[in-house]
């Protein structure tokens, strides 16, 4: 019905750590290099980081098979210790945003909004919203379609496929 409404994807996670520390982990290179990758065996290196309102960063993730992936981030809001808003893009090593040639209709601008909430002393909740910004109708449809698949859940075979690819 209301096709124009974008419903973000959401991940909610709790951490046994004080809010300020959790927030710092997202905004300080000495922390970021230690965890900002999607799975064990990867390495992360921030080559630039100006993490504040309207700042940018560029980092490289090296997969276990040596495959390198560059990510360029534009920060819109850095409000310690409670909120972080950024757009992130696949890029080259110079931080030039790469077109997703194989996924022509994947939304060009994906917006991440994170809320950091202190639940109790030493307990922090992150609510992470992920949504396309100003998507075209095609982009929105692709985003929605990918989400349907995610909700169906990836089979363990897909994990296997990913592992296979990562070890090549």
């Amino acid at each position: 019905m209301n096709a124009k409404t974008i419903e973000p994807s959401v991940i909610i996670r709790e951490f046994d750590a004080p809010r300020q520390l959790v927030f710092d982990a997202w905004t300080q290179v000495k922390h970021l290099n230690n965890w900002m990758f999607p799975m064990q065996g990867c390495q992360c290196e921030f080559v630039s980081a100006d993490i504040r309102d309207n700042g940018t960063s560029l980092h490289k993730i090296t997969m276990p098979n040596g495959h390198e992936m560059w990510l360029f981030t534009k920060y819109e809001e850095v409000a310690p210790p409670e909120k972080l808003v950024f757009l992130q893009y696949m890029s080259n090593e110079d931080g030039d945003i790469l077109p997703m040639a194989h996924m022509p209709n994947w939304p060009k601008d994906m917006l991440a909004t994170l809320h950091f909430e202190e639940l109790a002393k030493g307990k922090t909740k992150i609510t992470f919203y992920w949504e396309p910004r100003n998507p075209t109708a095609e982009e929105l449809a692709v985003f929605e379609a990918s989400r349907e698949d995610h909700q169906g859940g990836w089979g363990s075979g897909m994990e296997q496929l990913a592992t296979y690819l990562a070890t090549r």
Partner: protein, 115 residues
């Protein structure tokens, strides 16, 4: 209903669960259509239909050996899928797990008796 008909790109080719299952099977070894019919327990037209889509986007290649046609996964074509697999749940869900273990590690050294 609202799905786009971008059947020619890799994204929608792999968006269909049956085709992912086919790819997962072919990752293990190259197979003929009849091997796949047996392994998947699908009809031959079903296997052929999905195989064709995968071939059209070059995710799967075909080699002829005698009178047999073998199909195999083209890993290089799958590389962009890696990026896709790393979208939200995969990518950020994984990263948050890394964050969790990192935070646990760096706090271990602290003397934490709050009880």
């Amino acid at each position: 209903m609202a799905r786009t008909s971008t059947t020619n790109d890799v994204f929608s080719a792999i968006g269909e669960p049956k085709r992912r299952a086919l790819l997962e099977q072919l990752v293990l070894q190259q197979m003929t259509v009849s091997d796949l019919v047996e392994a998947m327990e699908w009809s031959q037209p079903m296997v052929s239909k999905h195989l064709k889509v995968l071939k059209d986007v070059n995710l799967v290649s075909e080699t002829k050996v005698g009178r047999f046609h073998y199909y195999r996964v083209q890993p290089d074509e799958l590389r962009p899928i890696q990026e896709w697999v790393h979208q939200f749940e995969k990518y950020w869900g994984g990263a948050l797990e890394q964050l969790d273990s990192y935070l646990t590690d760096i706090q271990k050294t602290r003397d934490d008796d709050e009880r």
